[in-house]
């Protein structure tokens, strides 16, 4: 008998393979502009997966993700423009520094629910103001210009397609790390903390330690996403990392489906690409976007992932599968 979480339904496998194939071949079909925004969506998918690890698998509401994104982006951007360090180094430094900055926040992890959300929101505001005001370091409100495109070793990733594949592989790695962390003993401890902290403690789980580990890992991944963002847009502005960005990442995770890694990726794509797709509606586009969001939430499912699971369940029921089994295979909510 195997761990229930480790088993994946044939639908999920099929969807995963189809999605992967689509992602792998996408640069063949897309123009520069579309590749640019899909690449952005990919980078934000990484950030969304990092938040999912906290929100969906540890039960920690963080509105501090924009801050980690900012720390990562500025670390990488400054090292690349100021010290001319190579991309491989700046991206590692971005992850490390973001992870280190998250250590400051470990004491507040004992706050619950919305209280944690507000405290981390405070962190986002603080980091935003530091980026804005410490001009000697960050160039302040003028922003940081001239960040080189990503490059690895002697091979410059000159073409947008090459960069796209780089982002894709880092997204893949982030998903893999997140997946490994949510199954097995570590992930079980995280879910236990999310579902009932008292019972988790009584089972001998060091709640503070596990929360801190999840938080730091999430910050490291978000920092790396920030570094990619810096090299992708090549220009950083403090307002890229304001409070609204944190809310946006939260939207991605909830639109995709809380508690699903794939959902976080889908959510990021929807939140990033839908307003683009709605450009034809001009000044009505955000209005339509908001309406669609309400409709999606009104469907009552756990985001798009939840919608897919219900749909798959309906199909499998028709194909006379045992519905209970599918239910059990779902990742813990």
């Amino acid at each position: 008998m195997s761990e229930p979480v480790a088993r994946v339904s044939p639908f999920a496998i099929a969807a995963l393979l189809a999605g992967l194939l689509a992602l792998l071949t996408l640069p063949l079909f897309l123009g520069k502009y579309h590749l640019h925004i899909v690449s952005s969506a990919m980078i934000f998918s990484i950030a969304a997966v990092a938040l999912q690890l906290l929100l969906g698998f540890t039960g920690l509401l963080s509105l501090g993700q924009a801050a980690f994104l900012g720390v990562g982006a500025y670390t990488s951007g400054l090292l690349a423009t100021g010290l001319k360090l190579p991309f491989e180094l700046t991206i590692v430094a971005a992850g490390l520094l973001s992870g280190l900055s998250s250590l400051i926040l470990v004491p507040i992890l004992r706050l619950k629910g919305t209280y944690l959300g507000v405290a981390t929101l405070g962190f986002t505001i603080i980091v935003h103001l530091v980026i804005l005001n410490e001009e000697w370091l960050t160039h302040g409100s003028l922003g940081l210009m001239g960040i080189p495109r990503p490059s690895i070793g002697p091979w410059l990733l000159r073409s947008p397609a090459a960069a796209y594949y780089l982002y894709l592989s880092i997204l893949g790695a982030a998903c893999f790390v997140a997946y490994r962390l949510v199954i097995g003993r570590f992930g079980r401890a995280l879910s236990a903390i999310m579902l009932n902290e008292d019972a988790a403690q009584a089972s001998g789980i060091n709640v503070t330690l596990y929360k801190a580990q999840a938080f730091v890992v999430s910050a490291v991944i978000t920092g790396i996403a920030g570094a990619l963002y810096a090299h992708h847009t090549q220009y950083l502005n403090p307002n890229d990392f304001s409070l609204w960005r944190s809310i946006e990442i939260l939207l991605m995770v909830s639109v995709g489906g809380i508690g699903s890694i794939g959902g976080a990726v889908i959510g990021a794509f929807v939140v990033m690409l839908l307003p683009e797709a709605l450009r034809f509606a001009a000044e009505y586009r955000m209005l339509i976007f908001a309406l669609l969001l309400i409709v999606l939430m009104g469907l009552g499912q756990n985001g798009i992932a939840g919608l897919c699971v219900s749909a798959a369940r309906a199909v499998s029921r028709r194909a006379s599968f045992d519905p209970g089994r599918l239910e059990r295979r779902e990742l813990a909510e």
Binding site: L121, L287, A290, L291, L293, I294, L299, N302
Partner: protein, 294 residues
């Protein structure tokens, strides 16, 4: 800083704080009654300001009447939104997080809708007060600030009286504490929740008219005060009425005094650092401390 300056700042901080308190109160009673963190509360504030203005253009009423009109309109709008959107979602028994996300969507929707209706430029409020401050000895106080403090405190007092001493107020409290048991007393939940949103809307709309008269009205005027009120409500202890009032005033004072005595650039950051420190000591905000103290 001279004493006179201190007093002036105190009045200014108190006025801003009172406005935060009104918005935070609205957030708090909605959380109490439904558990929903209403991200669109800031936009209700904006609606109040806009409606107050529209009323003035129709009939140039004196300020207190304008205040009431804006507040009532916002209350009605809040009820309509609740019945049309949030209630529909609740009836469908969607998870709580879906409702919270839909309030974020509502905030986007109202902001963009307001932009289409009222344009993107700030709109000046009519001059309702003398601009020159009243000179009281060495202290100079703008009459507007006095009005704001008086009206906001009056509003909060009225809310307290309503909740404590009227049967309707007790019913609202009952729904907040245990909706199911309240239902068993014959309280119509739909109506009760709608009136809670209505009260929150009235408070928000009142804050909107005050904000508008102090500054100006614009489609995005509610977002930042909404976030700050959210922080204030948390500082006070989510869902606590007294906490929300205290949290708002404390937050307003912190903001004003930080700007004067510490750093204008880091004005908001100092507030946030204090917030984090306070939450570390009192993980449930002021209300949690009061509860423990008893």
């Amino acid at each position: 800083m001279t004493i006179a300056e201190m007093v002036e700042l105190l009045v200014g901080g108190l006025a801003i704080g009172c406005i935060y308190s009104l918005i935070a109160l609205g957030l708090s009673i909605i959380i109490r009654a439904t558990g929903v963190l209403n991200f669109a509360q800031g936009e209700v504030v904006m609606l109040g300001a806009m409606f107050g203005l529209a009323t003035y253009r129709l009939v140039p009423l004196p300020f207190p009447a304008l205040f009431v009109a804006g507040a009532l309109f916002a209350g009605v709008m809040a009820v309509i939104i609740e019945l049309l959107i949030y209630r529909t979602l609740r009836v469908r028994r969607v998870p709580m997080v879906n409702i919270v996300i839909s309030t974020i969507a509502m905030s986007i929707l109202l902001q963009n809708g307001a932009q289409l209706v009222w344009g993107s430029e700030p709109i000046a409020y009519p001059r309702l007060f003398a601009l020159e401050g009243l000179q009281l000895g060495p202290v100079r106080v703008a009459p507007q600030l006095v009005w704001i403090v008086v009206l906001a405190l009056g509003m909060m007092l009225a809310l307290q009286l309503f909740l404590r001493f009227t049967r309707a107020g007790l019913s609202v409290q009952a729904v907040a504490q245990d909706p199911e048991a309240a239902q068993l007393m014959g309280i119509n939940l739909t109506r009760a929740v709608a009136s809670t949103y209505g009260i929150a809307g009235i408070l928000g709309g009142a804050a909107g008219v005050l904000l508008g008269s102090m500054f100006y009205a614009s489609f995005n005027m509610g977002f930042l005060p909404g976030i700050k009120a959210f922080v204030a409500a948390t500082l006070g202890g989510l869902g606590s009425i007294g906490g929300a009032m205290l949290g708002g005033i404390v937050f307003g004072l912190i903001e004003t005094f930080t700007a004067t005595s510490i750093s204008t650039a880091y004005k908001d950051a100092v507030g946030m650092v204090l917030l984090i420190v306070i939450l570390l000591v009192l993980p449930q905000g002021f209300a949690g401390a009061m509860r423990r103290g008893r």
